[in-house]
């Protein structure tokens, strides 16, 4: 019935694809090319859509901008702060949830709740928890004799505050994926290891970890890429500012500032392009590393 493509079938397919293609070409494919071109606009008039000059100076400009360097450093610190902690915690929780406990779905629901909630809303709630005088966190820390911390106004603590919020928000997603991965591991491997006299810790290291590596690899990629794109949390947590003394200025926040606050479309596009390259490189590195270390069942 439809083994070979014909012009007739192509026309038919085109009609089915038309609505989706129209939207995707205008808002997904064209802007990818346009975004690259805009990063090369060095002299342009946005209102009349005229470009007088193309060049690479936007890239040299942003790399000489201390704020952009700061944004890259901050984003890297954020990624390093969030991803490993989140993976270790969610793996530990997933393993506990997977040990045939009662009330599994009850716990799973609770851990997953933050995932469905608005980042802006929960960031505002956390902003209240981080309040230096009346916040819950400082109140609890007081029990351990820790003096009140200015979480949101001291540049030293703004990044940790952002990391705490992000780990809390993203934990449930990772737990669900880890649980799915754990449930896919064939029980016979554990039985075999047990027969051989392997201890629980040994079984974890030589059965769970290797067999779970595809899942870990997948979660790492997604977590790193998402951490590189952080914006909403910062905007809401610090009232539309990138933290005290730019201490939580990230790459996407920098793009937002150049684009929406300063109307420097060329510079903003160049910064956005750098973000794209970073995300792309991470995907490639992880993919090639993944091939070496990942054990597929």
């Amino acid at each position: 019935m439809m083994d070979k493509p014909t012009w007739k079938s192509t026309l038919r397919a085109f009609l089915y694809l038309l609505p989706a293609l129209l939207i995707l070409i205008v808002f997904n494919i064209y802007p990818i090319i346009k975004s690259f071109l805009m990063s090369l606009y060095t002299d342009y008039d946005f209102y009349n859509d005229v470009v007088y000059e193309y060049g690479l100076s936007n890239f040299s400009d942003i790399f000489q901008d201390p704020n952009f360097i700061k944004a890259i450093v901050n984003t890297t610190v954020f990624v390093i702060g969030v991803v490993p902690v989140s993976i270790v915690l969610s793996l530990a929780i997933a393993i506990m949830l997977n040990s045939k406990i009662k009330a599994l779905s009850f716990f799973r629901t609770i851990y997953f709740l933050p995932f469905v909630t608005s980042v802006v809303a929960v960031a505002i709630v956390w902003g209240w928890i981080f309040h230096s005088d009346y916040g819950l966190l400082n109140y609890f820390l007081g029990f351990f004799g820790i003096d009140p911390i200015e979480w949101l106004t001291d540049p030293t603590y703004s990044m940790p505050a952002l990391i705490i919020l992000s780990v809390w928000k993203g934990l449930g997603f990772n737990i669900i994926i880890f649980l799915a991965g754990l449930q896919n591991i064939n029980k016979q491997y554990y039985l075999a290891a047990q027969v051989d006299g392997a201890s629980a810790w040994h079984r974890f290291l030589s059965v769970t970890i290797p067999l779970l590596s595809p899942t870990m690899f997948f979660i790492s990629i997604i977590s790193i890429i998402n951490a590189f794109k952080v914006f909403d949390e910062i905007f809401a947590l610090f009232n539309g500012r990138p933290g005290p003394a730019n201490s939580t200025l990230t790459v996407v926040y920098y793009v937002y500032q150049k684009f929406y606050e300063e109307w420097e479309f060329g510079l903003a596009s160049a910064a956005a392009f750098v973000l794209f390259i970073i995300v792309f490189l991470f995907t490639l590195i992880q993919l090639s590393l993944g091939k070496k270390f990942v054990h597929y069942q």
Partner: protein, 274 residues
């Protein structure tokens, strides 16, 4: 496997402790939203308000038009979800059931676009929308989000798993291809469609960066944008801020409790994050 390493009791204690930490912000939000101003700033904290001030919610509505924001969010979420549903079903059908010239290239190009973060597309899309004169309109909030490569990819995979014999049978019975798609294929793919569209609803409801960029006027604010503006409007009245945050969070929590099965299964199966 962990059984021998950690006792049952320890596992329950650790999991419960974690659960308390996960729930605490929500509990604190609800508790604060129902407090009188003097209890909000009390130290040590008051957990259960001595008097439940439901007026805080009406007070918040007086300071900012959250009812309007709510309606905007509902309109944007529903229309963009229905739009995506239609474009996805049509496109996934073409990619899974029709042989046509350039099919594999077109599909590969679409999949390739998934590697580009949407933040990168923000600026050119803003320029396109201003050329169309769509800035500060519902169209700007809705139209760009009525098609998704991810949804098409997912549904195509699902469609490929539906036996081809069904369409032969339908053809013999004189059912048109279009009718077959809407009355047979789409209903068969219901689990996949529900999952994809639920995640779409959640993302659309919570979207922030896009709506703040393409809208300026208060009448077009969605809930997250309105809430963010409210932080300056409400000043330091935390009971009002928490009441407003609850209004943004609750609809999705309710949706989650009802449709939990689909959302959790969907995330587990596909690992999608939006």
């Amino acid at each position: 496997m962990v059984k021998s390493a950690l006792s049952r009791t320890t596992i329950y204690i650790l999991l419960s402790l974690g659960a308390v930490l996960m729930l605490l912000p929500f509990v604190w939000m609800i508790s604060t939203s129902l407090k009188a101003p003097n209890e909000v700033m009390a130290m040590p904290p008051v957990w259960v308000p001595s008097e439940w001030k439901f007026e805080n919610f009406t007070e918040a509505l007086k300071v900012a038009p959250f009812d309007r924001y709510f309606i905007n969010s509902v309109i944007v979420t529903i229309v963009s979800t229905i739009g995506e549903l239609i474009t996805t079903i049509l496109a996934a059908y073409a990619f899974s059931r029709i042989q046509f010239f350039g099919r594999d290239i077109a599909f590969a190009v679409l999949l390739g676009t998934m590697m580009v973060p949407s933040e990168v597309l923000l600026i050119p899309n803003f320029v396109t929308l201003s050329n169309l004169g769509w800035i500060d309109t519902y169209s700007a909030l809705i139209v760009p989000w009525t098609a998704s490569v991810f949804a098409i990819f997912l549904l195509r995979q699902y469609f490929l798993g539906i036996p081809k014999e069904l369409s032969f049978a339908a053809k013999v019975d004189g059912c048109s291809e279009f009718k077959f798609l809407w009355y047979v294929m789409a209903p068969l793919a219901k689990p996949a469609l529900i999952t994809v569209e639920l995640l779409k609803v959640i993302n659309s409801w919570n979207a922030f960066l896009w709506p703040i960029i393409v809208t300026n006027s208060q009448e077009l604010r969605t809930l997250p944008v309105g809430l963010s503006a409210f932080t300056t409007e409400a000043g330091i009245k935390y009971e009002l801020l928490m009441a407003a945050s609850s209004m943004v969070i609750f609809p999705m929590l309710i949706l989650f409790f009802i449709m939990q099965k689909y959302i959790v299964a969907g995330v587990a199966r596909t690992g999608l994050k939006g």
